[in-house]
């Protein structure tokens, strides 16, 4: 069944009962019924409505069997829906997926499980697939998802698009979850691991969905722009022999021009709404890099300014490292290294590959061969992608 329909039906049912797992189960049973009946009786005129009716029946029956007070209110809603449908059976099923995503990204849900929840509830992925993307065993991922769904139901997490005041903050959590899904797909940009490649596509699909449902939210457009920019360069990230090609060395002709154009259009629309935010800033950095396809050069001074704003907005260590690299490009390796040194206090950095890779490149540029070699070794030891490792080893070989 089309991916869009699955999410819509889960969202519609879960929004009424607050029970995501219950909705998924009821829908699974409805699909099973469809597989059993449709070949013989033919596909109904409105298959979505058919599935919804069957799933809803099962939910009402399940609630009756439980016979507890807590089931009463949602059951009444479901029954009311039934009556309404009997009167107007051809009405399209309202799209509650946004409400479902806000529930999945609620502050009361552990940040690490929001992206997996969205993948399961909205896109129908199973725990094993999601687990493999986030490097967690299927059993552990399954447990986390069950706990999270229980929490949504038992703590009373609402299925609601938040009001104006809370919207920006809550929306950021939804967008973060989508971005986490997208970046998980990047561990293998060449797409030789079919699963990783799929996740980038899923991230973009979700980004487009939210953009269609919230077209006046600049950060939503910013996120989609950011993802499209990054995705446009996926073919250029690998050379003919599968070797890693850093951004500076990529051929703009290998970038997907149509995707970049779309990304630029989105960013322009967003900036007209005059409400800057983290994702718009990230997209703007990508836009500055993409400009190389026309001008042949990169405006590093502008990129530094964008990272300054991003750092103020997020305080993120990743941003700080990228900013240091940009400073080095704009003002010289010594200043870039000074910016990196300012981060030394953070203990997590000793395990963070990008920090060592950046440090190594800047030390090399400054001519500190010994220190650069040492930093490259540390980066290599922390890198899991074989192509990137090979690239770093090549860099190291210039100093040994």
């Amino acid at each position: 069944m089309a991916r869009a329909s699955y999410g819509k039906l889960v969202a519609f049912l879960a929004a009424r009962t607050r029970d995501v797992a219950g909705a998924e189960d009821a829908l699974a049973e409805a699909f099973a019924s469809a597989l059993a009946e449709w070949p013989a009786k033919g596909i109904p005129r409105t298959p979505e409505a058919w599935l919804l009716t069957v799933a809803r029946r099962k939910l009402i029956d399940a609630a009756r069997r439980r016979q507890t007070g807590e089931a009463a209110a949602p059951t009444l809603l479901l029954l009311a829906d039934e009556l309404a449908d009997a009167a107007d059976g051809d009405a399209p099923i309202p799209d509650e997926r946004l409400r479902l995503m806000f529930a999945c990204a609620h502050p009361a849900i552990d940040a690490g499980v929001r992206a997996p929840l969205v993948l399961q509830a909205v896109l129908g992925f199973d725990a094993a697939t999601i687990g493999s993307a986030f490097l967690v065993s299927p059993a552990a991922m399954g447990q986390r998802l069950v706990r999270a769904k229980n929490r949504i139901r038992d703590a009373g997490i609402p299925f609601r698009v938040p009001e104006r005041e809370a919207l920006a903050e809550r929306l950021d959590a939804v967008l973060e979850a989508i971005y986490a899904i997208f970046t998980e797909g990047w561990s293998d940009p060449a797409g030789t691991q079919a699963r990783s490649r799929e996740l980038a596509d899923e991230g973009i699909w979700l980004g487009r969905l939210v953009a269609s449902l919230l077209p006046q939210e600049p950060e939503v457009l910013g996120l989609l722009s950011l993802m499209l920019h990054a995705h446009a360069r996926r073919d250029a990230r690998r050379g003919a022999r599968g070797e890693f090609v850093p951004l500076a060395a990529q051929e703009p002709t290998r970038w997907d021009a149509a995707l970049i154009d779309e990304a630029e259009g989105l960013l322009m629309r967003a900036s007209r709404m005059k409400a800057p935010g983290r994702f718009q800033l990230e997209a703007a950095v990508q836009s500055a890099h993409a400009a190389r396809r026309r001008s042949g050069r990169t405006d590093w001074a502008a990129i530094v300014e964008l990272y300054d704003a991003l750092l103020r907005a997020t305080g993120s260590v990743v941003v700080a490292i990228n900013r240091a690299v940009a400073i080095a490009e704009a003002r010289g390796a010594a200043e870039g290294l000074a910016a990196l040194d300012a981060l030394q206090a953070d203990a997590r950095l000793t395990q963070y590959q990008p920090y060592w890779a950046a440090r190594a490149a800047l030390l090399a540029r400054r001519g500190s061969a010994g220190a650069a070699a040492e930093a490259y070794r540390r980066a290599i030891g922390l890198e899991s992608d074989p192509a990137v490792r090979a690239f770093l080893q090549r860099q190291l070989s210039y100093f040994t």
Partner: protein, 115 residues
């Protein structure tokens, strides 16, 4: 849905607070309680006497024990509670955020088990 707002704070700090701070806190709680009443969400609530007045009962393996003091020595102690009836977690959290207790302690928001 019913929720309990459990108000935790550093007892000794509160008990040794100067007169003015105490009466300000008292006034803040009065206003807060009044707001809940007017909104129609209040189902109950009380300020509790300090843990020095607490007594803890246990019966491990059937052997009853009665000890002076709270169930455990903690940095923050339970000082009071409210029971509210609101549509969902967001509404409960909104009330919790307004509670004067957040300034010097924590408010735990616990859904009541629906029977």
């Amino acid at each position: 849905m019913e929720y309990l707002l459990l108000i935790y704070g550093n007892e000794s700090a509160m008990l040794s607070a100067p007169e003015e701070a105490s009466s300000q806190r008292h006034a803040a709680y009065m206003a807060y309680t009044e707001a809940m009443k007017k909104a129609g969400v209040l189902r109950g609530g009380n300020r509790l006497r300090p843990t020095s007045d607490a007594t803890t009962v246990r019966a491990p393996g059937g052997k009853q024990s009665v000890l002076n003091g709270p169930f455990a020595e903690t940095k923050e102690q339970l000082g009071g509670y409210y029971m509210i009836d609101v549509p969902d977690l967001d509404a409960a959290l909104a009330w919790a955020k307004r509670c004067p207790g957040t300034a010097h302690g924590s408010i735990e928001v616990r859904p009541v088990w629906q029977m």
